[in-house]
């Protein structure tokens, strides 16, 4: 046998053994179907890639910003198109309401003994999802600008206003405050943060009756309006992307921004060194004297569809469990999110989210009718911020819009 032939045979054998190893890998996750629907950002892409690798050839993932309008229709059929949906604490509610995801207790008992208990999301004692990362909105600030005006890092929105006034007065920036205040979901989220910070309750306990037309509601709206005075006049069209762009352009020195988006602001791409080198993040802000953090905690996690065969469910469960196993964390993926896996090592970009967890921020409410209120908030708050009507009128409008929607959905009589 010539050397050449030997080499060729060796390569072929090596290739063969690799394939076998790969096939063995597949067998771990079973022969069922895996089809993922989820939002699109780096951390979710990492999870989906690992899960698809485990489930093998037929597995597919559909990661898109429109996942919320696809997951429910895609899981309602029988068999369901998607065997798993990656959701957050707000979007899992729609899936629970329509009964399209299955309790995972038996699957956890059989295949998920390694999953730490803190990652399991339970509703009424039943495991409905497995969380893999945490997120929240926190203060992002420019250290150099604060130094210039001689102020410490603000811990309350009142201090943010004070700092903004100084920055403007000293002519450093015209509109130093940023925020995702685009009318709709973003604006509603900012109110949710602020209202929780004032110590408000959204509903009368144990009922679907809304109660935000109160002193806390007015306080939250007034603070939002005070902040908008220091924002770019186009703030009602600025979503998280546009706000991040304003930050990278160096036009903003203080803003409330998602932890999952801070990495982009701190990297060397898209902005001048003076911006990214001085971009820092700290814990949640407070408003008024309630002492409660004015932000919400979020988790992202995965679920398993109800309308699929037990074999598909088992494969999906095993693949997704592999997708969020401690093995996926490496140098590249470590700073993509605040991972909930035990071997996670906090990175500088995660300071804000971890501070929020420590400060005891409220998780975004997992209430069946919270989504209806969120929509009503997003539709009406702009009227107040534009000065078209009083805070009380806006709050009354929100309550009326929510009540009509809740009646249609059968939550109220």
């Amino acid at each position: 046998m010539t050397l050449m032939k030997k080499l060729a045979l060796g390569t072929a054998l090596a290739a063969l053994s690799t394939t076998t190893a790969f096939a063995a890998g597949h067998a771990d996750c079973g022969d069922g179907r895996l089809s993922i629907i989820g939002n699109e950002f780096p951390a979710i892409q990492t999870v989906a890639a690992a899960a698809v690798a485990c489930a093998g050839d037929g597995a597919e993932s559909n990661l898109t910003a429109d996942h919320q309008s696809l997951n429910l229709p895609g899981m309602t059929g029988n068999p369901a198109e998607y065997t798993t949906a990656i959701v957050a604490n707000s979007s899992i509610v729609a899936l629970i309401n329509d009964d399209v995801i299955r309790p995972l207790d038996d699957l956890v008992a059989e295949y998920g003994q390694d999953i730490p208990k803190q990652q399991l999301i339970t509703v009424d004692g039943k495991v409905m999802a497995v969380a893999f990362m945490a997120n929240s909105q926190n203060l992002v600030y420019r250290a150099d600008v604060l130094e210039q005006i001689g102020m410490d890092v603000p811990t309350s929105y009142e201090q943010v206003l004070e700092a903004a006034e100084k920055i403007r007065a000293e002519g450093i920036m015209q509109n130093p405050v940023g925020g995702a205040y685009a009318a709709g979901w973003n604006l509603a989220q900012e109110f949710t943060n602020m209202y929780l910070g004032t110590g408000g309750q959204f509903f009368k306990p144990g009922t679907a009756e809304v109660s935000i037309n109160n002193a806390q509601g007015v306080e939250a709206l007034e603070m939002m309006k005070a902040l908008t005075a220091y924002m770019n006049p186009d703030y009602l069209t600025h979503d998280s992307n546009a706000t991040s762009a304003e930050w990278e352009a160096g036009n903003v020195a203080l803003m409330n921004m998602w932890g999952s988006r801070t990495g982009v602001l701190m990297d060397t791409e898209g902005s001048a060194p003076e911006v990214y080198e001085n971009t820092m993040t700290s814990g949640p802000l407070t408003v008024g004297d309630s002492g409660r953090p004015a932000n919400t905690l979020w988790w992202d996690g995965w679920t398993v569809a109800k309308n699929i065969s037990d074999e598909d469910a088992a494969t999906t469960f095993k693949a997704m469990a592999a997708g969020v196993s401690p093995d996926i964390l490496n140098d590249q993926t470590m700073d993509q999110a605040v991972w909930l896996m035990p071997n996670f090592e906090p990175q500088p970009v995660n300071t804000g989210v971890l501070a929020s967890v420590q400060a005891g921020s409220t998780p975004y409410p997992m209430v069946p009718f919270q989504g209806l209120l969120h929509t009503a908030l997003g539709d009406n708050i702009a009227d107040f911020l534009q000065g078209n009507e009083s805070a009380e009128q806006t709050l009354a409008d929100i309550e009326a819009a929510y009540t009509a929607a809740a009646k249609e959905k059968g939550f109220l009589q």
């Binding site: 604490n89 509610v93 009318a183 009922t207 979503d239 409410p365 929607a405 249609e408």
Partner: protein, 341 residues
């Protein structure tokens, strides 16, 4: 044509129309008359990475039984049409009784989502439709008088607004009117006001939307008129010329009457399109300043909790209002049709 032959001739298209037009509308109407089941809500304990909280959840077993009993949902009749998020009958009646004076009543009315959406939609339709017709006609006349060798490129340029994907066209304009965009900065310079922002002002945003709406639909009117201009009787035109009619008089007394039926056609299509205004509001992110019925439907379906019945009711209302809006034009066409026989 014999009745039987006629029947078999139109049968395929009638079948398709029933399947793709009539049945979906029937299903939308049915949906709008039902609302979702009463949800049995229970207090539960939710646990997760951030600890346990007391919360509420839907009792699936109890709700499943209700669902089984009435698969379509609860009969709501016109309840959804009259609720606050649609026609708001009670609120309007209350405001009529309690408000002091017309301005106060108007303010209350405009605070209701349906009526504020109607206000914008009707203004938009009333301005954009005639503007499109007039400007489309002017462009057609101008292109028609351009030298033959230049006509091809001119037609192509005039059609561009229609060729450009609506969302992209609107987005380009959106960036140009940004406070830091070329048009936005020019406006600030013209008005001598560095804080002027199109995106922050409701009147400017309305003007922007209507300018965009006109810009994007001029080519449609232009193409139709341009085709019509090719059929103008040259004998009549020459006769008018010999009689000493000026260019304007020829257009006024020969061309315009000849193109009248086309105007009816363009008006019909444009009224329908403009009443359902949607893309500009999305791409200009103008939801804070202007809402339309289509936007209301989109938001009902796009929220975390979908409001199917609400969206269906708004759709049916849109159909009804389009029918009302079109009725004068349709009646006119019907009369003309009668005359010709």
């Amino acid at each position: 044509m014999k009745h039987k032959t006629f029947f078999w001739f139109v049968f395929p298209s009638v079948l398709l129309m029933i399947a793709f037009i009539a049945l979906p509308i029937v299903s939308v109407i049915t949906q709008s008359l039902y609302s979702e089941h009463e949800q049995v809500v229970v207090v539960v304990e939710n646990c997760g990475p951030f600890g346990c909280t007391e919360s509420t959840s839907v009792d699936q077993e109890a709700t499943a039984a209700l669902r089984e009993a009435e698969p379509l949902g609860r009969w709501a009749g016109f309840g959804i049409y009259t609720d606050r998020n649609h026609l708001a009958i009670d609120e309007v009646a209350g405001a009529w009784v309690n408000s002091d004076g017309m301005p106060d009543f108007w303010r209350t009315l405009m605070n209701l989502p349906f009526y504020s959406a109607m206000a914008f939609t009707l203004t938009y339709t009333a301005i954009v439709t005639p503007m499109t017709i007039i400007l489309g006609f002017v462009v057609a006349i101008v292109v028609n008088s351009v030298a033959r060798s230049l006509r091809g490129p001119t037609i192509f340029l005039s059609l561009l607004p229609m060729i450009v994907t609506p969302l992209v066209g609107a987005l380009i304009l959106f960036w140009m009117v940004d406070a830091r965009g070329i048009l936005g900065t020019a406006l600030q310079w013209l008005a001598n006001d560095p804080n002027l922002s199109v995106k922050a002002s409701t009147p400017l945003m309305w003007i922007m939307l209507m300018v965009y709406g006109t810009w994007s639909s001029i080519p449609f009117a232009f193409v139709v008129y341009y085709a019509g201009l090719q059929t103008v009787n040259t004998d009549t035109l020459e006769a008018a010329m010999i009689d000493g009619a000026s260019r304007w008089e020829r257009i006024r007394y020969v061309v315009i009457p000849h193109l009248m039926p086309l105007t009816t056609f363009i008006a019909l299509i444009q009224l329908m399109d403009n009443f359902r205004v949607f893309e500009p509001i999305i791409s200009f992110q103008a939801q804070a300043h202007a809402r339309s019925l289509s936007i209301a439907i989109f938001q009902d379906l796009g929220g975390e909790t979908r409001l199917l019945s609400s969206a269906a009711a708004t759709s049916v209302l849109t159909i009804i209002f389009v029918a009302i809006l079109l009725s004068p034009v349709l009646v006119r066409t019907w009369r003309d049709f009668g005359k010709q026989r």
